[in-house]
Subunit: 381 residues, 2 copies
């Protein structure tokens, strides 16, 4: 028993020290903490992680009941200023952090929203993910991420991980899960989707007007006088690609340019496919003075293929992408593209989820693309 008390005191002292570090790093640097360091330095890892301060510890230290501490923390209930003061001091001193696992268990919600990410390492999705993080800042909710690595089976697993953590809502970024599953999911949980539109769930989808984007890109080219405009598609049947292609077709017909199937070649949204698309076009002897790739990554691949053959951009061929990835501002030459506000879309998804959770009306959630003219497009010769 005495040992336990001694242990508690030690921990208290130790935690107080950490707090000091936060307040003033300089104190630390002059070695004031050395003695305590040594005392605690020899525990095993397991012991270290075991003891965290609880509500009861705080209550005992402040001489009140756990109920009171809980109420003070939640802001509910009226206490005498002195009591509140006393409790707050102990909370600080013990460096108490509520156990959200216990809170969640009791309250029946976890104050957590699960984010099902496609590929945590794609320049495209990462901005969205970052936007989601921003969107939840100071909302009282924390996002937790679980990745599908672009494989459907993994996505199911990731979904279970999130579900077992009792997330209060779910944000799906892209994803290859079938619409049908998402429709069912939407019935048992609050669901928001980014970069994907599921029919029947439009109100919970944050998406871009891709048709307009495709239209803008192509019109930019036709306006510059181009009439032979190649198009590199994204993944087979991917709606983003299909919609951008639709915009491409519309713009052509508006400009009175007949559609030529020879000019459209299949890609898969990856750089390499853009490169191969250009190679295919060129080796087949297809003539074109401009190329519109369904995303920036393919545009970059196309650019390299052109470079390898000594074809100048934009002098010989104009190039336009889609997305406006951060680094294409530094492409050679800086890439003309259609900006998709991924960060804002992520933020919007977070807000949408928040509003749904709190029963408020959802914010506007369809986004418009913006043409960003840089240096990879020029007048047709």
């Amino acid at each position: 028993m005495e040992l336990y008390i001694l242990w508690c005191l030690l921990c208290g002292f130790f935690r107080a020290c950490i707090r000091m570090v936060c307040l003033s790093e300089s104190q630390l640097l002059c070695g004031e903490l050395e003695p305590s360091n040594r005392e605690v330095g020899c525990e095993s890892y397991v012991e270290r992680t075991k003891h965290a301060m609880t509500l009861t510890d705080v209550a005992r230290a402040a001489g009140v009941s756990p109920s009171t501490v809980s109420r003070i923390l939640s802001g509910t209930a009226r206490v005498t200023p002195e009591t509140r003061q006393r409790v707050m001091v102990e909370i600080k001193r013990l460096n108490y952090q509520p156990n959200v696992l216990a809170q969640g268990l009791k309250r029946g919600h976890s104050r957590t929203v699960g984010v099902l990410t496609q590929e945590l390492n794609s320049p495209f999705f990462n901005e969205t993910v970052q936007g989601i993080e921003y969107g939840f800042e100071d909302s009282g909710y924390d996002p937790i991420f679980s990745g599908g690595h672009s494989r459907k089976s993994e996505e199911r697993r990731a979904l279970d991980v999130l579900r077992s953590r009792r997330v209060d809502a779910l944000i799906v970024v892209g994803s290859f899960l079938p619409d049908a599953l998402l429709l069912e999911l939407a019935k048992e949980t609050i669901l928001v989707m980014v970069g994907r539109r599921v029919s029947g769930l439009e109100a919970q989808c944050v998406f871009l007007d891709n048709v307009q984007g495709g239209l803008d890109a192509t019109t930019h080219l036709t306006t510059l006088g181009h009439r032979r405009i190649a198009f590199v598609t994204g993944n087979n049947n991917h709606p983003d690609s299909a919609e951008r292609f639709q915009g491409y077709c519309t713009a052509l017909s508006t400009a009175g340019i007949p559609f030529d199937p020879q000019l459209v070649v299949a890609g898969d949204f990856g750089e390499q496919s853009g490169l191969m698309a250009v190679d295919a076009l060129l080796s087949q002897g297809v003539r074109f003075t401009a190329l519109f790739a369904a995303n920036d990554q393919m545009a970059c691949g196309a650019r390299l293929a052109l470079y390898r053959r000594g074809i100048r951009v934009p002098d010989d061929i104009s190039l336009i992408g889609f997305d406006d990835l951060k680094h294409v501002l530094y492409a050679i030459p800086p890439l003309t593209t259609v900006r998709q506000p991924m960060l804002e879309m992520g933020q919007c998804a977070a807000r949408l989820a928040l509003n749904l959770l709190e029963g408020k009306s959802p914010p506007e959630h369809t986004f418009s693309p913006t043409l960003v003219v840089r240096e990879s497009t020029a007048m047709a010769r």
Copy 2:
């Protein structure tokens, strides 16, 4: 009461439907579920999220005690095959997912490791983060991410978020938190760092031999006959930059080239700073035939500055970066660089944390850089 039973039955049926979806999506598409859809379609969101199956539900359904179900799930304890069978069937039927909040509360650990990320949207850190995800696959632990957005105050907050979720271990990616804080942190929790070396905690740091990398890059250049080699540094005093610079100096002296301070200019790891560095060099009339940027992003910026002035790469000036970001393979020309295996380093960090959690000996965790020669470097004229 009757209502409650009805409700349960409905839920059961509904959940069974979801399971069917997983087994066969085609059934869904032909609209078999329509009736049930409508019945459940009008609940409010709050009601939807409230009811999740519990151990007790399963136990009741299978006609056993919760203890038994728990033991079956954990694999502990011997039951008759029939009982086990009966329970498993109910688990599947009810689509039961254990509540990890409750498990964590009871067991005293959360089977979760917190990852403090710098900037969730940096091509550099994202690969590491992805590696961490991979490293935890099938380990029984899940990583949860919380971001610091490169601001120290935010990092403290993110740390608290992780702490309140009772993570069993912590992985810090980069981070601007002071060494002193990390040293204290390491005493109260299992701590692993990636892309950062804190002295006194080397055993828990996964890092690259940056000096060697700087040496390799510079030697590559001197071997090609370059003698006027510019160097663009990273953030002020950032150890990665300092170490790469050290390698640069060593390589120069080995090659018998005197160090010229005029050739080193300060950057901050961002593209724009690489661009400005070249501008500064050129406008000051400093002569150089090769440039080594402390990371790829700055090399890309430098490349653009050169392009703007009509200076060819590698014909006029050779360029070498550091990191081997995915997209520099598609730079114009493809960038010669020093590869830092970020994905592998992330994976290693996860394994290190896992081993520490389980008291096993840590894996090897210092990585070697690899020179990747592409097309941005050539013989000096």
